[in-house]
């Protein structure tokens, strides 16, 4: 193994050199001296101290005290409208896939404790509807909603209109075709067979094209940008849109990685989809929404940039913690464990910024749906990430690996963190695109409580049962079937939690469609930007 150690040493050296160069580059380009001024780039002139929140009619909407300020607000309204078609294409699709994915998830959950439920047809067997659930919610809901929100934020962050939005619309159509074909392929038994990579690779090409078409408006809009500093949210979004196609392409290279090395590629990809795709989108959205709604900048802008680069460095190498104890070289597992623990650095920097900015403003959670969803999502990011670092330790992993504990952890991350932030973002975005208020406040509240109680039941029951399952599996004195019976109540509780979440999604989807159709009465308090434009028109 001497050559391996030599290569490792060289790589460690290259790694530190790249890190050092990045740091020097950052300092030389004044990335650090921007400081708090840069944190204010998201506000229009004079807007700081005013909340931008569509769901708080009692709060006076900031329309600008001077003509210059009012013009800036109007420019933002124009920027919002420029992304309308593209954003609505991606968001509407994502809501459809959320519903479909929820039903498949719920059915999978029921089959875990009702093994004779819907077994007559091969198309509805557990081993097919479970990957349909995963792929529908990951590539349908989370990815499409994430791209939709990114398309909305890009013109706002660059303070210009979205250029090349039609490419994103076309990309959305291709992405949807990919989903239809991919999910059908799984249902027909044509899965590629690796978790998170079930879609046949021929269909995966559609996702690469669809995603690349979204990069065109990003680059065109970046070229037209009217801001001096790129706010940290744009760092995360740009990096995510670079990382995803790269990951997806390599992991899907057909027949390149056989046997045990295929497993390392599989988990290198699967964890990077979380770490380098949905996580930066989620964190980036929270970095925008929290300060915007509170009307105050994040507390430490320098920390946010350190958080970004350390996330890139550490998160990209954690994947092999899914194979602890598996048939792969020990150095590889150790490398991933070290990086998993190092992940606490970006997680803590993000936590300081997200939660530190909230300090003194927690009362706002009472009235703002966007803030409530986004902040709880940010909090669950902290919890899920620190839990993930712990889970990567060999002493913990030997218990939690192969159990329902991991499933609970995955849902804490993908749902309580990411989906909550996406819900919050949709509540923020829709009124600005449709120029219509959310018609029924009570439905937002119902959605919130259904999904919150649902995910709470889900995570708590499976975490406890999964831990007990893991401890029992290590002791051969306990027969396997006794362990199965022990987990049954938790599997039933998961169905209850999942049913509540699915109900919540139905409420959300209904309300979303109502927004698209501009249902309900026009409210007294109009959408945020309309008074501003009216005043300017005079």
């Amino acid at each position: 193994m001497t050559p391996t150690i030599a290569i490792l040493l060289i790589i460690t050296f290259v790694l530190s050199t790249v890190g050092l160069l990045l740091l020097i580059w950052s300092i030389a380009n004044n990335q650090f001296s921007h400081g708090q001024a840069a944190a204010r780039t998201i506000f229009s002139p004079g807007e700081e101290g005013h909340s931008e929140d569509p769901a708080r009619p009692s709060d006076p909407t900031f329309t600008g005290n001077t003509s210059e300020q009012a013009a800036a607000i109007e420019a933002r309204w124009t920027a919002d409208q420029s992304s309308r078609t593209a954003v609505l294409t991606w968001l509407s699709s994502s809501v459809f896939w959320l519903l479909l994915g929820s039903f498949f998830g719920l059915a999978s959950s029921m089959k875990m404790h009702l093994p004779d439920f819907l077994t007559a047809s091969e198309f509805l067997t557990f081993g097919r509807i479970r990957p349909v659930h995963l792929n529908a919610v990951t590539y349908g809901w989370a990815s499409m909603a994430g791209i939709g929100v990114a398309l909305f934020l890009i013109p706002r962050l660059f303070k210009t209109s979205l250029a090349g939005g039609k490419y994103a619309v076309l990309g959305g159509f291709i992405w949807n075709i990919g989903l239809v074909l991919g999910l059908s392929a799984i249902t027909l038994g044509l899965s590629d067979g690796e978790e998170w990579l079930e879609f046949p690779w021929q269909i995966d090409i559609l996702f690469v094209i669809g995603g690349a078409l979204c990069a065109i408006p990003l680059l065109l809009t970046a070229a037209n940008r009217k801001v001096e500093h790129l706010y940290v949210t744009s760092w995360y979004l740009m990096a995510a849109l670079v990382w995803f196609p790269f990951l997806f392409l390599i992991a899907n290279l057909p027949f390149a990685f056989p046997g045990a090395s295929g497993a390392t590629v599989n988990w290198w990809f699967a964890h990077n989809v979380l770490g380098l795709w949905v996580t930066p989108i989620g964190i980036g959205i929270a970095y925008y929404m929290i300060p915007k709604i509170l009307g105050k900048p994040i507390i430490s802008y320098q920390l946010s940039l350190i958080g970004f680069w350390s996330l890139a460095l550490f998160y990209s190498q954690v994947g092999i913690h899914h194979l602890i104890g598996g048939p792969i070289p020990t150095w590889l597992v150790t490398l991933s464990i070290v990086h998993s623990v190092m992940m606490s650095i970006p997680v803590i920097t993000v936590a300081i910024n997200h939660h530190g900015t909230m300090m003194g403003s927690f009362g706002r959670l009472k009235d703002s749906p966007t803030l409530r969803f986004v902040w709880i999502g940010a909090l669950m990011y902290t919890v899920a990430s620190l839990q993930g670092s712990m889970e990567a330790l060999r002493s913990i992993n030997v218990i939690t690996h192969f159990t329902h504990y991991t499933v609970a952890h995955a849902h804490l991350g993908m749902y309580a963190f990411l989906s909550f932030i996406l819900f919050g973002a949709v509540y923020f975005i829709m009124p600005r695109l449709t120029n219509w208020e959310w018609p029924w406040r009570k439905l937002i509240s119902l959605h919130f409580w259904l999904v919150s109680i649902g995910i709470l039941i889900y995570v708590v029951s499976l975490t406890i049962a999964g831990w007990k399952q893991g401890v029992a599996l290590l002791d051969a004195a306990m027969p396997f079937m006794d362990i199965v019976k022990m987990t049954l109540p938790a599997l039933q509780a998961r169905t209850v939690g999942g049913a509540l979440m699915t109900l919540g999604h139905l409420v959300f989807a209904f309300h979303f469609i109502a927004m698209l159709m501009r249902s309900g009465a026009a409210t007294e308090q109009p959408t945020l930007f309309r008074p501003a434009t009216k005043e300017n028109a005079q």
């Binding site: 790589i11 067979g193 740009m238 390599i250 045990a260 497993a263 590629v265 990209s316 991933s336 192969f402």
Partner: protein, 209 residues
């Protein structure tokens, strides 16, 4: 634009580095690993069974990777076998290591349950053999006939799990999957493990999974 490009290039470089360490290096190291001389390539039928295993998502509940007893004692003590080594998977494309043990590890199921009748009956309805099992039944892998034709593989299902009249016969897919199960037998010694496995530790046969 310069700064936006710098961020994107920096992000891509970091991922490239991770690809070198987590994809390229393991591939180089593991593809050089010795293939155990006792490991047999899959037959055509076993390979077809493996595709049935993939199509029906068995991997979502079953792993194929016993861990080292010094790390996780339960795996070997339950009769799941010696720790697996990269060479054991030389013919696996794609890998089916799995991440869940809702059901038991299957790395040596062929040694634990070497009877094809057991495998077929268990696939038709797991509860016909193991009370309280939560594994789905796979009736669509079988045919219900009044009179089995010549050459049909009849599976005798104990009441009340079988049909009231007629016979249950296995389809080609069911036979292939069962053959793949029987091929999952890695009880040979692994040449790359530090020391030879003592004989008494070999998986016990007929142990309930």
């Amino acid at each position: 634009m310069k700064r936006a490009l710098a961020i994107m290039v920096g992000a891509a470089l970091i991922l490239l580095l991770a690809t070198l360490t987590l994809v390229v290096m393991p591939y180089l190291q593991m593809s050089a690993e010795q293939v155990p001389p006792d490991l047999k390539p899959y037959t055509e039928q076993q390979q077809r069974g493996r595709q049935v295993y993939i199509a029906n998502g068995c991997v979502y509940c079953h792993s194929q990777q016993p861990r080292d007893p010094s790390f996780a004692p339960g795996d070997k003590a339950r009769g799941w076998g010696r720790p697996s080594v990269p060479g054991d998977y030389a013919y696996d494309e794609p890998h089916l290591l799995g991440t869940m043990r809702t059901g038991p590890d299957l790395f040596n199921i062929g040694a634990r349950q070497p009877s094809i009748d057991w495998q077929l009956m268990h696939l038709y309805n797991p509860r016909a053999i193991i009370k309280g099992s939560i594994m789905p039944s796979y009736p669509f892998l079988f045919r219900h006939v009044n009179e089995p034709a010549e050459g049909d593989k009849v599976v005798n299902i104990p009441p009340p799990y079988g049909p009231e009249t007629g016979k249950i016969v296995a389809t080609e897919d069911a036979l292939a999957l069962a053959e793949y199960m029987l091929a999952l037998d890695h009880t040979y010694p692994a040449p790359t493990l530090p020391k030879a496995q003592p004989k008494s530790d070999e998986p016990k046969e007929n142990r309930a999974p």
